[in-house]
Symmetry: D2
Subunit: 289 residues, 4 copies
Amino acid sequence: MIQTISIIGGDLRIVKLIEMLSNDGYEIWTYALEKAENLDKLPNVHKCKTIEQVTEKSDIIIGSIPLSSNNTDVNTPFSDEKLTIEKLTMNIIGKTFIAGSIKQEFYKFLEGKKIKIIDLLNREELTVLNTISTAEGAIQIAMEETTRTIHDSNIMVMGYGRVGKILANMLKGIGANVYCEARKNVDLAWIKAYGYTPVHLNEIEKVLGKMDIIINTIPHVILDEQKLEKIDKDCLIIDLASNPGGVDRTVAKKHGLKTIWALSLPGKVAPLTSAEFIKDTIYNIFKEL
Amino acid sequence: MIQTISIIGGDLRIVKLIEMLSNDGYEIWTYALEKAENLDKLPNVHKCKTIEQVTEKSDIIIGSIPLSSNNTDVNTPFSDEKLTIEKLTMNIIGKTFIAGSIKQEFYKFLEGKKIKIIDLLNREELTVLNTISTAEGAIQIAMEETTRTIHDSNIMVMGYGRVGKILANMLKGIGANVYCEARKNVDLAWIKAYGYTPVHLNEIEKVLGKMDIIINTIPHVILDEQKLEKIDKDCLIIDLASNPGGVDRTVAKKHGLKTIWALSLPGKVAPLTSAEFIKDTIYNIFKEL
Amino acid sequence: MIQTISIIGGDLRIVKLIEMLSNDGYEIWTYALEKAENLDKLPNVHKCKTIEQVTEKSDIIIGSIPLSSNNTDVNTPFSDEKLTIEKLTMNIIGKTFIAGSIKQEFYKFLEGKKIKIIDLLNREELTVLNTISTAEGAIQIAMEETTRTIHDSNIMVMGYGRVGKILANMLKGIGANVYCEARKNVDLAWIKAYGYTPVHLNEIEKVLGKMDIIINTIPHVILDEQKLEKIDKDCLIIDLASNPGGVDRTVAKKHGLKTIWALSLPGKVAPLTSAEFIKDTIYNIFKEL
Amino acid sequence: MIQTISIIGGDLRIVKLIEMLSNDGYEIWTYALEKAENLDKLPNVHKCKTIEQVTEKSDIIIGSIPLSSNNTDVNTPFSDEKLTIEKLTMNIIGKTFIAGSIKQEFYKFLEGKKIKIIDLLNREELTVLNTISTAEGAIQIAMEETTRTIHDSNIMVMGYGRVGKILANMLKGIGANVYCEARKNVDLAWIKAYGYTPVHLNEIEKVLGKMDIIINTIPHVILDEQKLEKIDKDCLIIDLASNPGGVDRTVAKKHGLKTIWALSLPGKVAPLTSAEFIKDTIYNIFKEL
């Protein structure tokens, strides 16, 4: 039965997570979070002055999400402390370490050391839950960047993966005319079953011209010159796909198409909800330990 | 059969309206819109230099929405011309004049003159259509001003009139837990029938404490000190009600409650959609003339 | 504070109502319900042998819904007793009498007597709640009588009153392509706002031909020969309107159109839910006494 | 480019399929369908008298769904002809044969023969589309077999596979309070994202007691004695799972629980829609040939 947790670094989501864990009765030891206001006032939350001190308090160590932005130092936006990944690894031997987006650079320090590593962003349930925030973030952008209502707009969602599914569902819920692009017959069947208009990639050029908004979730360039020139000049393109994105940006610019590349929405648009999802996932992890 | 329309002043919605009317084949004469770009390029759209010139071209005159902001001059944001309401009235005798939010000050100039006046904002179908934009505007604010997703948030809609109905429907469509306040048993029955949680005003204090967002549509102070002190300090209050609004702002501030008073959303958040709704309404008016 | 209720006659809904009232702690005296099983086993429910006995127990008397089918006798399907309306009136002087569909024949016995009469079917909140059952009943018929799924069927709802509103909402919820007919611009605006396709009565003939199902709620003949001959021979017509209904049945038959006239659905398809709605309405009445 | 199709046997869905294929311009040759009315009147549809005749007309042969009910004879409900599977195979050498639920008994006749076999029920897109009909069939049963409305009923969907997903979506669309049972964290995350109440199998007993309807889609006994005794005696159980089903029927009976085992719903509740889905799938197959 886990009762004590050590937490090192992290952003607003981690701060909110600490509040919830404290509310649920856990004893929390923190390090590299000294500038996070209000933590002092929470019951059962204690501040540590050194990495050695915080890591010896519990066998469960939670780190930042993402763990590092430069592959060298742990992300500690609420602290003036500088903590290298290398130093961190030396202090968590024999422990369970939970963090997000743990890169290869971290694993190289672990060789031969007995550390149980869990990357939150590899947890499929968290990835699914985060699509809720991503979808809302995309809708917020669509609302802010257009002069039309979402209601009764023609909106194409490209790609029917996790984000595509939840985004289509919400857009329909506000009253949009939702078109979903996919390539596989089975995905097109699902799209029809959920009540959106299915569009096979091969036939997409027939309908692109009447779209008010196009939201891409496919992580390779799918909106190339041939497709972009079919799109109405007043259409907004929102690209949610990670690098290189799904839009040929140079061509889009040439055609005067407004394109917004929106990444990492969950932490930006709904840090509190993100913290709740992280908490749920950590509790699932606890059950499996 | 109306084929020619004269248009005087107006904001971006009127400019978009002219585009649509031009597309539909109407001959358009404009005045006090000389700074609106692109109008020159539209087929069948002509610029007039004087009020006399524009009004003699057609028996249908469309004015700005709202007609005036100071009760003296016509609103002409896309023009350097200054046109008094008085001068306007002298030039539209015998005509049909369509504009928005026409105040008493206008009608006093009309006495004895034969002018058919139609206030767009008295057209119930436009009021209903505008609730779509108002509801989306409120949702956009809710997304921007909170750190949570709308999805799975507890949201109270106060008042089950036009805006309340469409807002509740959209919020549910994104996945919120929607509570609707009303006083009449029949409204509470409708709320239940549409699948929201009905809350009688007399019982609202029992549930206010668990709300993440409260959106008021009732145009008199209903969230008074007694109710405000039941509300969680992290709850966002959005007040859509016209003056004096539904929130005791002094007390809300004292309690540290974040309150946003949002008025006239349709023109702000979705001018293009608003223009379409105005066009639909004008076409309905044409059928009735 | 009402604590004791007398109940006379009634069908399965009244029996279920007694169960709920008993659960809520009321003391119940019944008459002309002796064949309703299980009532004996309920706490606080007592059987009376005469109308005199049951009416003297409480100042609140609940009768059957509808009160009478022949304008002479009270409806008592769970009893061998025969009770005339006249005899009933003589025993409830000074009382509050609640029943359903109370006709003129009843009121004539009341002249000069001090009886407070409340007709449940005049309570607007109950009428609204009953639309839920009516809408589901219509959907059940549509499912049973067609060889297509509701999902992706073209369905026209004629009339946008109470039943039309809730029916359209549910049909959309299962995935139908919902068209709503109305005549008033403001109704057409609401239809658009809720995301259905609005069809003005004047333009209905353009789309009738592609309907798979037509559901009428308008209580006068609207589907006349001219309209019926536009309808596809495989289209199902469900008429929910009370006498004379909205379909020229003779012509429909001549054209080989399958027409189902479905009345009084709430009591038939969902007596238990109907009982709950009656209970809610009675509690509202109690608050107002 | 396929232009001619031979069709052998089949039920109402095949008859409807022939109508649609004829409408789309295909030349159709039929055998063992002589009692299907109206086929004669369709353009481009021709009757063959022998299996030899029909199979020589096209390289594409469509058989019945399921192909056989006794593993010996082809299903030919619209014919007096008796056609063994063995005889069929001898006449389709070198052809593409499309049918449904083709069993091992068929494949044994094929050894060494060059026949391209496509089992429609192995096509994932058809399986998904059929869930639409299955879900509606389940809802129809729920409406017919209960005295409550679906609206505001507590309904548990057990299993979040294909049928579970679409069923939950439709039930929510009519206004039910939808609970979905699953075991995997990722499925529970999806359930939450779509707005249903997630229930882990381990915690299901806490909520079973308040369910009005339970619909099982899991194909092994999951509602055992321990769970069944938690269920309210008025709760309806609908079992959509193939043999052995998900309910211990003996125990359910002992507890007086109304249980309905509903199989093969698509062909029963919506043969016309099923025919459309089959047509869509066949067209997908044509593109892949």
